[in-house]
């Protein structure tokens, strides 16, 4: 199928289902999930814990297969029950608990991708990594190891490591989980700045509704397991945003709408948990 957009990074998820261990314990993680993410769009996925959000991310990234349906990237099939394109630099993932290589310095981590892909020489990759660090005011951190950095800086470095490869899609799995509220606001502005500058499609999983509304072009609310799309809420707030927007009337309306849908699903998840324990 030919690409319908000039900008890269459009994702189409069509009737995707995933059952873990169908012959054994049979855990249905996703059922008939369908939605689109336009190229250059920031799509935020929210839903109860364990509902299958990460399963969907793994399917798009090529880490895991699907049981039914199809996933397209720029019109090209990347996953179906019989076909799967392996993970590659088109779809970059920033992991929940961080996956910077602890044995590589900051600059080695960022320069790693272009070097192993053979796109840049070691020196050129390091130069580009240094440029990116300067751009986000992290110069001076080049020779530090990840564990010498704060969690916030680690996340920023990991996002740079993804972006240096010019991916079509960046997928972030609760990247700011565990950060304190103050660091989070800084990280949101950092991501907003990166996004405005690079304009990559982002698939962003979170539990934090403020984060979802502040960052997203649209919020996709998933049901409790098996994950289905419960509601898609377009975020019609001006872009780019500043934190004071969180006090605006429209913001609070959107938050109320999303909260209601999420709460309903959270209650279902809670009751399901009670039933499982009973």
């Amino acid at each position: 199928m030919a690409s319908e957009t000039k900008e890269p990074g459009a994702i189409r998820i069509k009737h995707v289902s995933k059952i873990y261990d169908p012959q054994g314990v049979h855990v249905e993680a996703m059922r008939d999930c369908s939605f689109d993410i336009a190229a250059g769009e920031m799509a935020i996925i929210v839903g109860p814990s364990g509902c299958g959000k990460t399963t969907l991310l793994n399917a798009i990234a090529g880490f895991d297969d699907i049981t039914a349906g199809e996933i397209f990237l720029d019109g090209e099939l990347i996953s179906s029950p019989t076909y799967q394109i392996k993970p590659n630099v088109d779809r970059m993932v920033v992991f929940q608990n961080g996956a910077l290589f602890p044995w590589k310095t900051v600059i080695e981590n960022i320069a790693y991708g272009p070097m192993v892909q053979g796109r840049l020489t070691k020196a050129a990759a390091r130069d580009k990594a240094r440029e990116m660090l300067e751009w986000v005011c992290l110069n001076g951190m080049e020779e530090k190891y990840p564990e010498e950095l704060s969690s916030g800086v680690q996340r920023r470095v990991e996002i740079l490591r993804a972006l240096i490869n010019e991916p079509r899609v960046v997928m972030l799995d609760e990247p700011f989980r565990g950060l304190d509220a103050v660091s989070k606001t800084v990280m949101h502005e950092f991501l907003m700045q990166l996004f405005c500058n690079r304009n990559r499609t982002m698939f962003f999983i979170t539990h934090d509704l403020d984060e979802a509304i502040f960052l997203g072009h649209k919020v996709v609310i998933m049901t409790t397991r098996p994950a289905q799309v419960k509601k898609i809420v377009p975020i019609d707030l001006p872009w780019p945003r500043e934190h004071r927007i969180m006090n605006s009337k429209r913001y609070l309306e959107l938050k109320g709408e999303i909260l209601e849908a999420v709460h309903e699903e959270a209650k279902k998840a809670f009751q399901a948990g009670e039933r499982e324990l009973a």
């Binding site: 990234a61 880490f63 392996k86 993970p87 590659n88 630099v89 779809r91 970059m92 993932v93 992991f95 608990n97 996956a99 290589f101 602890p102 044995w103 590589k104 790693y112 991708g113 192993v116 892909q117 190891y145 990840p146 564990e147 010498e148 490591r161 993804a162 490869n165």
Partner: protein
């Protein structure tokens, strides 16, 4: 780092170590020379051991001023180094491949697990049978204990690597050779170095046992000779020589580990 940190003998860590050694020697002297408790009075006391060790004319013919002492030490060090180097190379290689390749692991793990618990000394008859000369048999026995300790720790090292590092590496466009070099090897290094320290310890233990049984020279052989000739001062001298060599070799491995794993040292220092 604090600039007022004390160095040399004033360093509290060194002071405590010296006090520990002093208390040990004092207790040993008390039990064997002063109180002369039953059974203990048969043991040589530390003063007679030190006197024999630094004697120009030792009763046993072996002290730090004799060529025989250095020959024994040289033989033992050479055997251990050869066996340990071979065990490190082959053990790390096998452990990495087993951890890296699931099919190879399925084939090889049961065999490794059956061979691993066999005491090194039980290999001696077969080693003597298949290897030319006694020398290689001693090296083989020393090798075999170190080898399995290295294989197992390397394997555990690969298994300990966070799965997300492999996923991240695949997203970043790594080919299998990049993942092996950039993820598997460095990710397993902390466990490998723990394994090498254990391997070095068991190398010395197996070496002495091998030398006692089938050696013709070396520290283990000399200990057995001292036992046969009732020269217990020499036995204890050589036991301590082995202890010091073991300590130095383990410290060497730790120092190499710190150099190769700068990220670990910095994390501990951070």
């Amino acid at each position: 780092m604090s600039t007022s940190r004390k160095t040399g003998l004033l360093n509290p860590q060194i002071m405590r170590a010296l006090i520990g050694i002093g208390v040990f020697l004092a207790l040993w002297y008390l039990l064997t020379a002063v109180l002369q408790l039953p059974r203990f009075k048969l043991l040589p006391n530390p003063l007679s051991v030190i006197a024999e060790w630094i004697s120009f004319e030792p009763v046993s013919g072996r002290s730090i001023f004799t060529k025989a002492f250095y020959l024994d030490m040289g033989f033992s060090i050479a055997r251990t180094l050869i066996a340990f180097s071979l065990a490190t190379f082959l053990g790390v290689l096998l452990g990495l491949i087993m951890g890296w390749n699931r099919i190879f692991y399925d084939f090889s793990f049961p065999i490794v697990e059956i061979l691993r618990p066999m005491p090194p000394l039980s290999w001696i008859p077969l080693a003597v049978l298949i290897l030319p000369g006694v020398e290689l048999a001693v090296v083989y026995v020393t090798f075999i204990a170190a080898f399995f300790a290295t294989v197992l720790n390397t394997l555990l090292g690969v298994f300990s690597i966070d799965k997300n590092y492999f996923l991240a590496a695949s997203c970043l466009g790594s080919k299998p050779k990049h993942i092996f070099i950039n993820i598997v090897v460095p990710g397993a290094l902390p466990f490998i170095f723990t394994g090498l320290q254990i391997a070095m310890g068991v190398s010395w233990m197996s070496l002495v046992a091998g030398e006692i049984i089938s050696g013709q020279q070396g520290l283990g052989y000399a200990i057995y000779e001292g036992y046969s000739l009732f020269q217990f001062d020499q036995v204890v001298c050589y036991m301590f020589t082995l202890g010091i060599l073991g300590y130095i070799s383990s410290a060497g491995i730790r120092a190499l580990g710190r150099r190769l794993m700068a990220w670990e040292s910095r994390r501990r220092g951070a």
